[in-house]
């Protein structure tokens, strides 16, 4: 857990199984066939970005690479397309983690937006070089919805760590 200026409480350490489970859920969410619904967020990128910022020592480039490959296969995309994007995303998240955590969630979202955007641009460039068709500008709505979801996602994924060490029903926390 890294220090933040606003946290007035000490969070519990994260459970590695919870991180893995959340990544698995994100993977399943990313497999939902939504028929190219404009603005459907990239759940995998969001979750991966979150844990890369919060727990860089637990979620590294290796996980980003492996999960990227699994998304590639599930989406029928080029092998290495998502892997490349997620590795870059994870690297950016590691680099900016200390800065980002200094901000409250809404302002964190403003930092997440360009990072998600860059991952999409990387994927677009890769596929355009490979000779595929341009997916249309609505493709770039996904980072925006992703950034909008960021505060809620932060709350959700930190929920287990917000729980008190020993629950006391007579104490109002």
């Amino acid at each position: 857990m890294q220090s933040t200026n606003l946290s007035d409480r000490i969070l519990r350490p994260p459970q590695p199984w919870f991180i893995d489970a959340s990544l698995l859920v994100a993977l399943i969410l990313s497999y939902i066939p939504v028929s190219r619904l404009a603005g459907w967020p990239d759940w995998m990128a969001l979750t991966l970005c979150f844990w890369s910022i919060r727990q860089p020592q637990l979620v590294g480039l290796d996980k980003a690479f492996l999960l990227g490959l699994l998304v590639d296969i599930g989406h029928g995309a080029a092998m290495g397309q998502y892997a490349l994007a997620y590795v870059l995303l994870s690297h950016m998240a590691h680099t900016f983690a200390r800065r980002i955590l200094w901000f409250p969630p809404r302002q964190q979202a403003l930092h997440i937006l360009p990072m998600l955007f860059i991952t999409q641009v990387v994927m677009t460039v890769v596929r355009l070089i490979a000779g595929d068709s341009f997916p249309g500008w609505t493709y770039f709505l996904a980072p925006i919805t992703g950034a909008l979801l960021w505060p809620a996602l932060s709350l959700l994924l930190l929920w287990p760590q917000y729980q008190p060490e020993d629950r006391d029903d007579h104490r109002p926390i």
């Binding site: 399943i28 190219r36 029928g76 092998m79 490349l84 595929d132």
Partner: protein
């Protein structure tokens, strides 16, 4: 850093050389259960909507189907008879038997999520006998090609995917060509020289020359023909409901197409047939000349393809020297002597081109370009 390099290597290996299909298939065993879980809500919604579909619409559909069945029953009866007759006639003439096909009925599960391509996923796979390369069609025509057969699912690249190619001929006169997807829902018949006999409203059917598709499946209809530079710009619309089909048939050849003849064993046509003999030509120059003239000649026959193709009609030319339809082949023809000198395996395989070009292109996207293609088939 090393991960980035690894990703880039994988991208090149996959997009350019298609080396990673094994990895993809292996890892798909891991992702398949997750995909099933992810698709469960969509499945539920679909079955619920079918369940609650109003009685009226079902009755209407039923009536329509019955009418069609009666209509098609008598066609089918005649078809059986005509096919028998055709077989007997072919026997009498000593011609090769027409292509036998095998079919698997399947359902479109969902659009593949990849936004850069137009693909759908079917609910049948290699376990049901589907192989990559099979044609996929709905009730009115071809909608795409199975490009990856997973054990329980098949990935179909739709005709409208950018640069997805299919070898076709004009049903009216047998003029051959290759139809490409534009990536925006329309199709384009490319490299047909100006002056060829193509009209608006012409129906295009598969030629089967690619060695992959079953011949004579309806594909598209010509919507506009405008001259541009050296070639006609021919826009077409698919006959099948490419983007909306739900029930499809996956159709493949029962046996693989006959192997392409080895280009090394090809007999050079005597020079006199190609050019009026020039009295003062050194042997080296002659050699050069012959290749040049051959390519020119190929181009010429390609240009004048309409009458030649007319006479050939439905009959598939067997030799690789038969008129190539595309200007690309001109280049290939020029390459020929070089490849023979090199004698490397790769050179030989890329030499197979003229007839193989179509096969390769219909089989795989041409963006993956020459050397990868025929090796895969």
């Amino acid at each position: 850093m090393c991960y980035v390099v690894l990703c880039l290597l994988m991208l090149v290996a996959d997009l350019h050389y298609r080396y990673l299909e094994m990895v993809r298939h292996t890892l798909s065993v891991v992702t398949y259960p997750l995909q099933v879980i992810a698709a469960a809500p969509a499945d539920l919604a679909r079955s619920a909507s079918t369940y609650f579909g109003t009685l009226v619409s079902v009755q209407a559909e039923n009536a329509e189907l019955r009418r069609k069945e009666v209509e098609q029953a008598q066609q089918l009866l005649r078809f059986a008879q005509v096919e028998r007759e055709n077989q007997e006639l072919r026997n009498l003439l000593g011609m090769a038997q027409s292509v036998q096909s095998r079919a698997v009925a399947a359902e479109v599960l969902y659009d593949a999520p990849d936004p850069f391509s137009r693909k759908v996923i079917l609910n049948r796979g290699a376990a049901d006998g589907i192989e990559s390369g099979f044609a996929v069609l709905d009730a009115s025509g071809v909608i795409g090609q199975a490009t990856r057969a997973y054990p329980a699912q098949t990935e179909v690249t739709l005709l409208t995917d950018k640069d997805q190619a299919i070898a076709i001929k004009v049903a009216r006169n047998g003029l051959r060509g290759v139809l490409f997807g534009n990536g925006d829902g329309s199709l384009e018949l490319r490299f047909i020289p100006i002056g060829s006999d193509v009209e608006v409203g012409d129906e295009l059917i598969t030629s089967g020359l690619d060695g992959v598709f079953v011949p004579s499946l309806p594909v598209a209809r010509v919507t506009s023909v405008t001259p541009a530079d050296a070639f006609l710009r021919i826009q077409c619309e698919p006959l099948g409901h490419v983007e909306r089909a739900t029930q499809v048939l996956v159709l493949g050849r029962a046996e693989p197409a006959p192997p392409l003849p080895d280009p090394a064993s090809a007999i050079e046509p005597p020079l006199e047939q190609l050019v009026p003999p020039k009295p003062t030509a050194t042997p080296g120059a002659q050699d050069k000349d012959s290749s040049k003239n051959k390519s020119k000649d190929a181009g010429k026959t390609g240009n004048g393809a309409a009458p030649a193709a007319n006479s050939e009609g439905a009959q598939a030319p067997a030799s690789p020297q038969a008129t190539p339809d595309k200007p690309k082949d001109k280049g290939k023809a020029k390459d020929k002597p070089k490849g023979k000198n090199g004698a490397g395996k790769k050179a030989a395989s890329s030499d197979k081109k003229p007839a193989a070009a179509e096969a390769a292109e219909a089989g795989e996207k041409p963006t993956e370009q020459p050397n990868a293609d025929s090796a895969g088939r």
